[in-house]
Amino acid sequence: MNFRFCRSWEGVLGASILMVIILMAIFATIVRPGDPQAIVAAPLLPPFTKILWPLGTDRLGRDILSGILYGARISLLISIAATVVTVSFGTVMGTISGFMGKKIDEMIMRFSEAFQAIPGFILVLALVAVMGSSIFSTIIGISATSWAGLARIVRAEILSLREREFVAADRAIGMRPFDIAFRDVLPNALPAVFSMTSVIVANAILIEAALSFLGLSDPNYISWGKMVAEGRTVIRSAPYLSIIPGVAIVLMVLAVNLIGEGIIEALNPHKKF
């Protein structure tokens, strides 16, 4: 599968872009030490005019390159954390639902439908309003909107797996239902989870960006969405202030989607190389 992944150009391109973004996040403090929100130069320097400030400065004179580098950290941190929470919670709920019989199944499914009925972004807004704007509330908000879809996919997978012979064999040797569900059935359902992951990550990046664009993310950290919003006030005279961070968001989401494509191509037995 690794070999097949490397043969798909989508996967390779996506992985390369993502690698660059990860390197940006890692080396942000070395390339641009100090506070990324500090005023360092004259305001509104256009990009590609000064060697020192290659991407220019915003209307307060803050370095845009610093913002992009440090913004990569927040984007990565939040999307990874939100995906971990979503995948763990969604998988556990889906497994319990698919394996624990009618009543519990019915309850969890109604519960997940209720979460899906609430317009996703409005649910995030409500949770952030109640918990206050912080990295933690952003992660919880994103997870709250994404877990239900994953839980339903895992459940469907579990429902088809639980009728297989190996589950009957487990029962015959007297394994407890809990062990059967989490030790034997769930691992077989993981490929389905795996192929959903890139969608969840991409979604998390986009929600975080929208949240910070609306000024509802953690005020202590710079993020790409916030930079787009700040550039908006001078959109007529300095459109690059909104364009540059937006391109960063697009590239990151695109990278994740390309990796997802690569994984699907690699797992697809019909595709010949």
Binding site: E113, P119, L206, F213, V253
Partner: protein, 329 residues
């Protein structure tokens, strides 16, 4: 029982517990929120503690959790969602005023996303792995990666700032006294960019779904039969492959409605459209919890109702659905 009315009834009954769960969850959320409605109210108007106590008694906030919950349910039953703090008007009225604007925006966006998306997906999927397919697939992937608010700003920069052909924002020209056809034209002109921003994002999704669905169908046995009958590739693509690939795309359309209604929050903020999404944003920013609760509830109800309609329409398109006694959820 007739098939379609039965299907409708079953979907309706199964939606009731879902809405109840949303109501209970919202009540818990309201309890968790720091301070109560009176605190928020006093923050804007001011008043001493006796004034606050009177207000709490008036709104029943001095009682325990259980009586308050049942009072809340009772009020909901009469469609009383409470009083909005920022508008000083009933929440239900404010929302009802804003909802049509957003439904119009969503309807037009779905038309762009679904109509254009499936058509482009059909073009891409009718010749999988051809150069044309590669370009369209890449376009879909790219659109799917663009944040809607950013696309909105880019469209504003191009079409409003540089070319100056469409208005920057708003729902219609303010105080223009336009009537009838002229007003419709004015609104349509204002909605071009918002509809494109919201629609193009989802267009990518439908393009990709349609295309990948078609790629799957091309491999099935009945397509070989169609080739054997001597049909042309175009004919097979449209009459056999596309028709079979379309049904799953409709399912996703229903699932995406909630997400699209959520997306309207961002788009309406970018384009300053006084709609439902903008209302949700205002409620959060100004900490108007009664309004926020109302927005979520009406949002969930809207999504649920449209989903029931889509399910019934789906059952009408696919005669296999709704014949079994129990629908698997």
């Amino acid at each position: 029982m007739k098939r379609l009315p039965g299907l409708f009834l079953r979907r309706f009954v199964s939606a009731i517990p879902v809405i109840l769960i949303v109501i209970v969850a919202l009540y818990v959320l309201m309890e968790l929120a720091p301070g109560d409605a009176v605190d928020t109210y006093l923050a804007s108007s001011g008043g001493d503690s006796e004034f606050a106590a009177n207000f709490r008694r008036l709104w029943g906030l001095d009682q325990g959790a259980a009586p308050r919950f049942f009072a809340y349910l009772g009020r909901l039953a009469t469609l009383d969602l409470g009083q909005s703090l920022i508008f000083s008007r009933p929440v239900f009225d404010v929302i009802l005023e804003r909802l049509p604007t957003t439904l119009l925006l969503m309807g037009a966006s779905i038309f762009v996303a679904f109509g254009l998306g499936t058509t482009l997906g059909l073009l891409a999927g009718s010749k999988p792995y051809s150069p044309g397919d590669r370009v369209l697939s890449l376009l879909g992937l790219l659109l799917y990666a663009v944040p809607s608010f950013w696309l909105g700003l880019i469209l504003i920069i191009i079409f409003s700032v540089w070319l100056n052909i469409v208005p920057v924002g708003g729902f219609e020209t303010i105080a223009s006294d336009k009537k009838g056809l002229e007003r419709i034209q004015d609104i349509a002109w204002h909605l071009v960019l918002p509809v494109l921003s919201l629609g193009l994002i989802y267009l990518g999704l439908y393009l990709r779904l349609m295309r990948s669905g078609m790629v799957e169908v091309w491999r099935l046995d009945f397509i070989r039969t169609a080739w054997a009958k001597g049909l042309t590739q175009n004919r097979i693509a449209i009459n056999h492959v596309a028709r079979n690939a379309l049904l799953p795309v409709i399912t996703v359309l229903g699932l995406q409605l909630g997400s699209m209604l959520g997306g309207s929050v961002v788009i309406e903020s970018v384009f300053a459209i006084p709609g439902f999404g903008r209302l949700a944003y205002e409620a959060v920013i100004q900490r108007d919890f009664p309004l926020l609760i109302g927005v979520i509830l009406i949002g969930a109800a809207t999504v649920t109702v449209i989903n029931i309609v889509i399910d019934v329409a789906y059952g009408w398109l696919d005669p296999r659905i709704g014949t079994q006694q129990k629908v698997k959820t």
